[in-house]
Amino acid sequence: MSWKYILIILVFLCFLLWGLFAGGAPLSYYTVLETLGSPFGLASVPPVYQSIIWEFRIPRMFTAFLTGSALALAGCISQSLFRNPLADPFIVGTSAGANFGVTLALVLNIIYLRPGLLALPWFAFLGAVLVTVCVLLLGRKGGALPVNTLLLAGIAANYFFVSLSSLAATLGRNVLHRSVLWSLEGFAGANWDTFLAVLPLVLIALLALIFLAKPLDLMVLGDESAMGLGLNVGQFKFIFTVIIGLLTGAAVSVSGLIGFVGLVVPHIARMIVGAKHSRLLPFAFLTGGVLLLGADNLARSIIPGFEIPVAVITALMGVPFFLYLLRKE
């Protein structure tokens, strides 16, 4: 069991190292090492190198990791909650809701207040929860939540809130033109502030999940079996919805819409450590983070000095896997 964790942590460390040396600024390996040592008085480098490494490159890697982890966890919970291997925050409409929350916050010009950056993930969270609750209510059929109506409701919600976001963006374009391309940016703008803004949401979700692995295992069995085993299904559905909202809100508010991580990672993790949530969740957390960290490293190092949208890379990696899952179904 433990060697699997050692392996993923090793990959994580390798990716961290890779990320330290990759990026738009053409810094030599030696310069990067010097810069790493400079705060401890081991070397002296121009302050601009210190900013590049310590204030942008490092927080960017942690932000990418945290976002990937959040998406992977949200995917795990969605797949168990909706009992569908193809469920993820995108397919259920949660991301569209989070995106709507962010758009609204931008149109209302909240981000440009200094604490606005801290508020942005919470707007995304509210949007995500709103949409997921709508989907849960719409998809309900005589007290139960059949998977197909749920997914259909999710598709409807997706279209509706993507349209609402475009509408808000069109009507509020005078404000938005300052932040155009926000949703395409990936992690190019990430710094410690961004990292700290999303950290609380992910921490709250993580804390809650420590106690919720068991109920999630029961949810997979289906509403009736779970109820039969003494689980208050309605209550837990709501709790998990809020947690999905926290995780999706955190991810979408920092990087925009990044697909396929939430879908693919839970499957990879399940293949490696099995479906039991007490093992699945921590491993998916690590895998998702490592995957997105690697994708973002690629995004900024394929062509040095040019940013390729990280969503493009996750889609290129994820789509073949998605098709494989579809064929297997």
Binding site: G23, G24, A25, V48, S51, F56, A188, G189, N191, F306
Partner: protein, 326 residues
């Protein structure tokens, strides 16, 4: 919000001035295409500003300690302004969208306009960054947090282009060059105004900036709209209160432009327009009044080369203005 109120106030101020002017002279002069283009208001930046300083698009005052030596431009229009001011040798970074003047090919590229690399910019250690509309806001914020002076440009009208040239000129220590350029453009504007009479016919003009449906053009209050009116035309989209509106075919057919400017690279303009459904009935296509600019970018970039656009367009619309009288 702040900039909105500012524009609002400026608008009222200009309106008040205009009304006052009208009352004095009795009738408004017909040759004034746009009230905001009075020659006195251009060129000079606020005279009481010290050297190497200017107020940018966001209303921030940028004061540089000395003449900037390492300038990065994040958009072609800003690059063209800096180059025209004579700061070509001080530009250390531009975007991949930059292609004018041709020497920019030798300057380090910091990425595209919409995704410049923050690290690359920082590693070039600029002492001034010229940002334009379309740059990501988070990048600007991060640069500012690193105490890199960022000057934001987003000129909407011809007058604002002239003002911005003046501002950048003062900021980078080339106020005389700025004065020269803006006066030169102003002279062109004054020349065109002098040629215009009450009997001048104003052909309806459509500048197309995107060759596929929906077609894009310049709406009200943009420098493209100004270019048309100054060159003696009437913008078919001037009633649309949107800077870069997408036009449907039926709108263009209904407006029936007399002249069409295709502001992009195109092989056979006449043929490509005729092949569009319904377009063979448009006046401009019937009369083959289609302008394919020598360099479409002069119509698309709010920079010093708007002078070339003005002259080319005016010559196309009103060749009689340029005939030497016997």
């Amino acid at each position: 919000m702040q900039s909105f109120w500012k524009k609002f106030l400026v608008f009222f101020f200009v309106l008040a001035l205009l009304l006052a002017g009208c009352r004095e002279t009795g009738t408004p002069t017909p040759s004034t295409p746009s009230p905001s283009l009075s020659p006195t208001s251009t060129a000079t930046p606020s005279p009481n500003l010290p050297s190497f300083s200017a107020v940018d698009f966001w209303g921030n005052t940028i004061q540089l300690p000395q003449k900037p030596q390492r300038i990065i431009s994040l958009g072609p229009s800003a690059t063209e302004i800096a180059a025209a001011l004579g700061a070509m040798d001080r530009l250390v970074g531009v975007t991949t969208a930059d292609d004018y003047p041709p020497e920019v090919a030798n300057i380090e590229k910091v990425g595209g306009m919409d995704n410049p690399s923050l690290e690359k910019i920082l590693s070039l250690e600029p002492d001034l960054v010229l940002a334009v509309f379309g740059n990501p806001m988070t990048l600007i914020e991060n640069l500012k947090a690193q105490k890199v002076p960022v000057f934001g440009l987003n000129p909407q009208t011809v007058e604002e282009v002239l003002q911005d040239i003046g501002k950048v000129g003062n900021l980078i220590g080339e106020p005389e060059n700025a004065q020269k350029i803006t006066l030169d453009i102003q002279k062109t504007i004054d020349f065109l105004k002098s040629k215009r009479t009450e009997t001048s016919t104003l052909p309806k003009v459509y500048i197309e900036t995107w060759p596929q449906e929906p077609y894009y053009t310049f709406g009200a209050g943009t420098f493209g709209d100004d270019l048309i009116s100054l060159a003696g035309g009437e913008n078919i989209a001037s009633a649309i209160d949107e800077p870069y509106p997408a036009l449907s075919t039926d709108y263009i057919l209904f407006e029936n432009p007399d002249c069409i400017v295709l502001a992009y690279m195109v092989q056979d303009a006449q043929k490509s327009l005729e092949s569009r459904k319904g377009w063979q009935n448009i006046n401009a296509v019937i009369d083959n009044r289609i302008l394919v600019p020598k360099d479409p970018n002069v119509y698309l970039r709010p920079g010093p080369r708007i002078k070339e656009a003005l002259l080319e367009l005016a010559q196309f619309l009103h060749p009689e203005w340029f005939q030497v009288s016997p």
